[in-house]
């Protein structure tokens, strides 16, 4: 078969692979653009570049998603985003468990780790809100990149009806040209997903319906 293909394009006039990529837009305020685009897709944006905003932001996310627990990715999330949370059960991380449940305690104004759970699909299918850290974000389209690395999975960000993503400001890129220049395809894990807003369909008379097989709600929290 390969031979057939080779013969077929044997005589083809070759065009050089174009070198210079076309211009992609630049923004003076990428955060504003990111926010605008994210909101256009039905996503919700929170600015928590001031760490003291975090408790209020998380309160809001939990209220909006009608959740009392958040399922977290792994401890890297805390480190990367400097989340000021107390870990009640730190040794759980060492065991390769993935999903941790936080109980939100109103009176403490901070979510606190209560216990850890095994990474189980059925568990994931039950929870109402999960959280992960985005590898990158793109202002041009209000998108974030989910990376699957060792210690993380594909399903955490897709099974629960609401998902919250932490995006660090330094990982926010201008546009897709920058994104695909730096996207480490296949380098760290077997899957990457570029996520832009919640899951949607327009298969019924082109009427937009938010939330089909994936999350109905997508929150992005920008940290510094």
């Amino acid at each position: 078969m390969l031979e057939k293909v080779r013969r077929a394009c044997d005589q083809a006039e070759g065009v050089e692979l174009p070198g210079q990529s076309p211009q992609f837009p630049q923004y003076t305020d990428p955060v504003a653009k990111f926010r605008q685009e994210l909101e256009r897709t039905g996503g919700v944006f929170f600015d928590a570049r001031q760490p003291k905003e975090l408790p209020a932001v998380l309160t809001s996310v939990m209220k909006q998603s009608d959740s009392t627990e958040i399922y977290w990715e792994d401890e890297q999330l805390f480190q990367r985003h400097g989340l000021p949370f107390t870990l009640r059960n730190p040794e759980a991380f060492a065991k390769g468990f993935l999903v941790y449940s936080f109980h939100f305690r109103q009176e403490m104004k901070l979510p606190i780790l209560l216990n850890s759970k095994r990474y189980e699909r059925s568990e994931l299918a039950r929870v109402s809100l999960s959280a992960s850290s985005a590898g990158l974000g793109v202002a041009e389209t209000g998108s974030v990149v989910h990376e699957v690395r060792s210690g993380a999975g594909r399903l955490l960000s897709v099974l629960p009806p609401a998902h919250v993503v932490f995006l660090s400001e330094k990982d926010l890129l201008m546009n897709h040209a920058e994104l695909f220049r730096s996207l480490p395809l296949g380098q760290y894990g077997s899957a990457l997903t570029l996520v832009t807003g919640p899951s949607r369909t327009a298969d019924i008379e082109k009427t937009l319906v938010i939330g089909v097989h994936g999350p109905k709600q997508l929150f992005v929290i920008l940290t510094s």
């Binding site: 083809a12 299918a125 996207l183 089909v212």
Partner: protein, 470 residues
Amino acid sequence: MIRISANTQAALADQKLQRNLRQTLSKTLHSRNEAVSDVPNWEELRQYARDVKTHTLSRLADYLLELEGKVSEQGGRVIWAETGQEAVQFVLDLAHEKRVAKIVKGKSMLSEEIHLNESLERAQIEAVETDLGEYIVQLATEAPSHIIAPALHKSRGEIADLFVAKLGMAPSQDAVEITKTARKLMREHFLTARIGITGVNFAVAETGTIVIVENEANVRLSVSVPEIHIALMGIEKVIPRTSDLAVFLKLLVRSATGQTMSSYVNFLNGPRRNGELDGPREFYLVLLDNGRSKILADDFLRQTLACIRCGACLNVCPVYQRIGGHAYGSTYQGPIGAILTPQLRSLEEAPEHAYASSLCGACYEVCPVKIEIPHILLRLREKVQGEKNQKAAHLPFEKLAMQVWAWVMCSPSRYARLGRWLRILQKNFEENGKLKLPFPPFNRWIKHRDLPALPARSFKELYSSSEKQP
């Protein structure tokens, strides 16, 4: 043999279909135009993408090899399938070997092209389409009518009735309710299926990455839960570099739905790796030829393979807008279907596809990879006639008519004489200055239009007499 002309009347008379087409297509077109006008260098992007495709197709074998190498390195397996039958057989064998009873599927036109579902059904393997539109047509036991929006021909009411009848949904006309029903039902399937089958939008040779664009997350689930992922791709889907994706995705998404970006773009590099918590344990990439290398061999027609299946040419096509997708009788509809179908199958099997176009060129105008569809249609018409004449025992009537016509047009005197004769002959058919010709093909033509009678004097006569005056 597919006869589009036999299907058009029913399509035109179907009021529901006409309404659905009108409503949905105008919406899509509108969003597409908005999304494109937002991009100042759209033309530059188109040309860039086209150049990448032209280059890739001219060295397709090399890029496919590179892709295979990378996919294998990452623990995936590449299957070369020369025909649809081979691809189907591979899937069947694998399903049998692994004793799989249920398969979830992401929308894949390639799967439609090779009639995979029918074969799976015959083998008593349950195949569930998970894209909502595709699921709707599966429930209705119909074929998709649009490569991007499979259930575009159906109204909300029709879909609701279908869900009530087949799934026992509580009666509701609400798109949200319908979607909820599908979500709930599909969750079960996702969690119990052991194979996920998807299509492929792009495959990056340098990294061995499969790229799948979607909105619903059904692909994300299909490639995350089941233990086996099979990706089906036509050999033309490979692109050389990751960096080109920026341009292709921008073109594809804006052209297809008018979004700035789809909800999810999946980049997949083989099966799950050590330490990863989920994802398929086995990954297979099926590279399908099924007539593509034949198209590749023609210098002009090769560009057909540059198509990224955005569906924009369907939305903008005045013919598609009026007859919908089913009338084409093929997996691919509209302008791209008109050029792809006779090439993938044969001109004999699809002799009318190339003619089902007014050659208005709107398809070329919107095509994000600048495929010269109208010119390809013309080339295919040429080939249709060539083949027909070669095979015909007698000179076909149309050919004869054309020969006579050319014979007349090559000679000014014959041309003038014909004009004079027609002026005499037409007296028998003239009515209020119009010609009522009761024989084909004119009778069909004048049903909707008028053929004016030839005026007493032609321009040539009028002009030369006016020139003679001082």
